[in-house]
């Protein structure tokens, strides 16, 4: 171990800004200055904030730098590492990075369970994960707990699926546990196709072992011996880190046959998605792993009874699995201290759109939309006014500023009409038009609809046609009424979650932004974004 460590935040965003190159340059320069015995350069996951450059932390000094060019790297090596002088021109205050916002002398802090290690450990080094209680939960269940006890603990904790639907995880495991079969599977849904969501990516990049440990515990609980992580193909960093983590876990005997000297065996491998949104739907994902086209299956039977290759299968989101090990270690009661009555624990939110601090935060369930935007996100960017927020992803609800104080949990959709979904908070300022945003969202659904069932395939097309008419100022009130009927039809008639969830953004948009939509019927776009077709004027003949 060396005296000084340079942590380079490497994730998909910073890689595009040259994180890898900077890291290599650091290593190279440190070698040139003969410092390699003293200074280590390590990659770590995202620090959780996005700045115009690559964030680097020098430890144990605890100094953060924002690197924008190779010159900056040189400066840091020559000044800080060689001579011990801080480069104040490149320094970033730790408060800005570690997401602690000082607000009238009161510290507003994140609560990190899922992201406990992201940005502090080297994700490619299994020993650092082990040092932070890694695999202790797996050892605990293998040595001390019966499968039924594990399931009971997860049930008691109130953990619910973090993919968006919020199904109780313990129940899902119990159903699988109770089904008799010669082979059972554990699947991790890491397809993360919801536009604006990137929490799973950062979990996998920053702390891949937490997902693997969660899956292994699930496998022990339900009696599965094989598992797959289905990662979307564009997530190069996640794939790299997860693969490294799996290899290391096999080497250390934490995956494979006879884990930790017991007779429990679990084999895990990666399967890659090819970029279809529908493959994030659990049954379509299974079809895809089986080598077929990614189309959803008719439910029931549900995956715990007949899933992958027709065998009982547990399928959970990345974030759900990452919650498992801390629950086992600290107990269900500890977990229930966070969050609300029916939604225990924390949730990772991604803040995107017109917000000052884009990035991700992990906060207890029940945090309001206002807190997320103004406390953690730093408010609306460019000094503009807030117009709308889409919560929960593209398939989530559009709300106006009047609903900002809604606490977000799995009941907020039922109680307030604000969905939590996959945890996206898309902030839209007043320079945007509601119809235009809607058109964008529904074009996404039309493009991603697989076409297997009619309500979804045709319904999305009709919605787009109506919104195009609205944006040209040629729609009528009857068209809007028809959209309401269509929403009900799609919700009840669609085969899978894709078609069933399109009505969520549709209804909330029609409901919360009624005035603006009706203005379009009258041929006016309040923001001036939609180019209205000038209605043909009747020629008026005047007789002289």
């Amino acid at each position: 171990m060396k005296a000084t460590v340079v942590l380079v935040s490497v994730d998909s965003n910073s890689v595009l800004k040259g994180a890898r190159e900077y890291k290599n340059l650091f290593s190279q320069l440190i070698g040139e200055y003969n410092l390699s015995e003293m200074v280590d350069v390590l990659e770590t996951g995202s620090f959780g904030v996005y700045m115009d450059g690559v964030l680097v932390e020098v430890l144990p000094d605890g100094v953060f730098y924002l690197v924008k060019s190779t010159e900056d790297v040189k400066k840091i090596v020559e000044e800080h590492l060689l001579k011990g002088r801080r480069v104040s021109s490149l320094e970033v205050l730790p408060e800005k990075v570690r997401s602690t916002v000082v607000e009238t002398e009161e510290l507003v802090k994140e609560t990190r369970i899922v992201l406990r290690n992201a940005g502090t450990i080297d994700p490619t080094n299994i020993r650092e994960y082990i040092a932070n209680d890694g695999y202790a939960a797996l050892a605990k269940v293998l040595k001390e707990m019966k499968p039924a006890e594990v399931i009971e603990e997860i049930k008691k904790s109130g953990l619910r699926g973090r993919g968006g639907a919020g199904f109780p995880t313990g129940l899902k495991w119990e159903f699988t546990y109770k089904t008799n079969a010669d082979q059972k599977y554990i699947l991790c849904n890491a397809d993360e196709g919801e536009p604006g969501t990137f929490k799973d990516r950062l979990i996998m990049e920053g702390d891949p072992h937490s997902v693997i440990e969660g899956m292994a515990i699930a496998a022990y609980a339900v009696g599965a011996t094989k598992g797959y992580i289905y990662i979307r193909g564009e997530y190069y960093e996640s794939i790299r880190n997860i693969q490294k983590a799996i290899d290391d876990a096999y080497e250390y005997g934490l995956l494979g046959d006879n884990i930790l000297g017991t007779d429990f065996s679990f084999h895990l491998s990666i399967r890659l998605g090819a970029g279809a949104y529908i493959c994030g739907e659990e049954t379509a994902l299974m079809e895809s792993i089986e080598g077929k086209a990614g189309r959803p299956r008719l439910k029931p039977p549900y995956p715990p009874v007949s899933g992958l290759f027709g065998k009982p299968t547990v399928i959970n989101n990345v974030e759900t699995f990452a919650n498992v090990a801390p629950i086992i270690l600290n107990g269900a009661e500890w977990f229930k201290k966070y969050g609300t009555e029916n939604s225990a624990g924390t949730k990772v939110f991604t803040l995107v759109g017109n917000v000052v601090k884009r990035g991700l935060v992990e906060v207890p369930m029940g945090t309001t939309v206002r807190e997320l935007i103004y406390t953690f996100g730093g408010g609306v960017a460019n000094g503009r006014k807030l117009k709308m927020v889409q919560t929960g992803g593209t398939a989530g609800t559009f709300i106006g500023p009047d609903k900002l104080d809604t606490p977000l949990d799995y009941d907020s959709f039922k109680n307030y009409g604000v969905s939590i979904g996959s945890g996206v908070i898309l902030v839209v300022d007043d320079s945007h038009c509601a119809v235009d945003i809607g058109l964008n969202v529904f074009k996404f659904f039309e493009h991603e609809s697989c076409g297997k069932c009619t309500p979804c395939r045709e319904g999305t097309r009709v919605i787009i046609q109506t919104f195009e008419k609205l944006s040209k100022g040629t729609a009528t009130k009857q068209d809007i009424e028809y959209l309401w009927q269509l929403a009900e039809l799609m919700e009840k008639g669609s085969l899978c979650g894709l078609g069933q969830s399109v009505p969520v953004p549709l209804r909330s948009l029609l409901d919360n932004f009624k005035d603006e939509i009706y203005a379009h019927i009258d041929g006016k776009c309040p923001t001036g974004i939609c180019k209205m077709e000038t209605k043909k004027k009747k020629k008026v003949y005047t007789r002289y």
């Binding site: 171990m1 144990p60 590492l81």
Partner: protein
């Protein structure tokens, strides 16, 4: 790497890994500052720094941060090492060779005794 076969083996790895990680944390009992200006490096501060890190590992002193700094103005007694513990007056040692560095770690950091024959200054520089 042989496969982990028991809980004890996992805990053993955990302890080893924690030791490695502790060097990295800030917010410790105190710090050792090695002056790494040109003068210090020319006088062999790099070897001293290396010796300090090795000795810290050897003696299992895990609550002290090793930090580098610039020249503190005592160029004639380089390499200089400043030991500043939380509730003590900082002590500056001069002419610290790797062997002396080992002594400082053992005596001062581990046992809390100041190595009197090497002290060049006490208090803030």
């Amino acid at each position: 790497m042989p496969k982990i076969k028991s809980l004890e083996e996992l805990m053993k790895i955990k302890e080893d890994a924690i030791k490695d990680l502790k060097l990295r944390q800030s917010g410790k009992r105190g710090k050792v500052i090695v002056a790494m200006g040109t003068c210090g490096i020319a006088a062999g501060a790099k070897e001293t720094l290396k010796a300090i890190v090795d000795a810290i590992n050897e003696f299992g002193v895990d609550d002290i941060a090793v930090v580098q700094s610039g020249c503190m103005g005592l160029c004639d007694v380089e390499p200089t090492v400043e030991v500043s513990l939380m509730d003590e007056e900082p002590v500056i040692y001069g002419n610290v060779t790797p062997e002396q560095a080992r002594r400082i770690v053992e005596k001062h950091l581990k046992n809390g005794e100041i190595v009197a024959d090497l002290v060049v200054k006490r208090g803030e520089v």
